[in-house]
Amino acid sequence: MITLTPAPFDPAETLSAFKARAEGAGAIVSFTGLVRAESAYGPVSNLHLQAYSPMTETGIRTAHDRAMASWSLTAAAIIHRTGTMTPGDPIVFVATAAHHRRAAFEAADFLMDYLKTEAVFWKKETRVSGETVWIEPRAEDYTDSARWAETKG
């Protein structure tokens, strides 16, 4: 299940719905990403995310399908915000369900690496100072994502 939404969402409600759908799984991992109050450059006022439909969804769908196949998941869900968010707001939620915990952990980690590095989003940070900056990819993120290229086809 993949959702790209300009509206706020509640990670706990999402986990509850996912758990109902993951009937029969032994392990459920969830990841929630929240807007941080401090970036590397100082206090953050808001974060604005642009997506390009359907390219963004297509990319996420490909990562989702790869995770389902690579780790034999019984279910997976991805929710990603677009639009303007303030510190503390959920940006992204990923849940994975599997028979065993190792698969659920690795698949959630893989999906998050994809979403944080390769997913088609543009991100503008507005600082408390009033300055706005479009965030460029970080070298650290590419390193995380590259981990999977070595271990999974």
């Binding site: 390769e118 997913a119 543009w122 991100k123 990819p137």
Partner: protein, 85 residues
């Protein structure tokens, strides 16, 4: 005659143009990605922002090698580097 394509701007180019969708119609004389970049740049202050190699162009949701012809395109997007969510 086919309709002229929609032109979309993302990321930092949104700030350069002031909008995510071009309000000007693409002239018939602009037939490939090189000419498109020059046209967009001159339309938006000649800053060179549209000429940067890190900006990729997608035609109908597919990033294309350049130069590529624009014929038959329904939607053309200028895409700065994507950094994830």
């Amino acid at each position: 005659m086919s309709r002229p394509p929609r032109i979309l701007y993302f990321g930092k180019l949104t700030d350069v143009t002031g909008h995510t969708k071009e309000t000007e119609q693409l002239p018939d004389t602009i037939t490939d990605t090189n000419a498109l970049r020059q046209w967009a740049d001159s339309l938006h202050g000649n800053t060179g922002a549209f000429l940067e190699a890190t900006i990729r162009i997608a035609i109908d949701s597919e990033i294309v090698p350049e130069p590529s012809p624009l014929s038959g395109a329904t939607e053309i997007a200028f895409m700065p580097p994507v950094g994830g969510g």
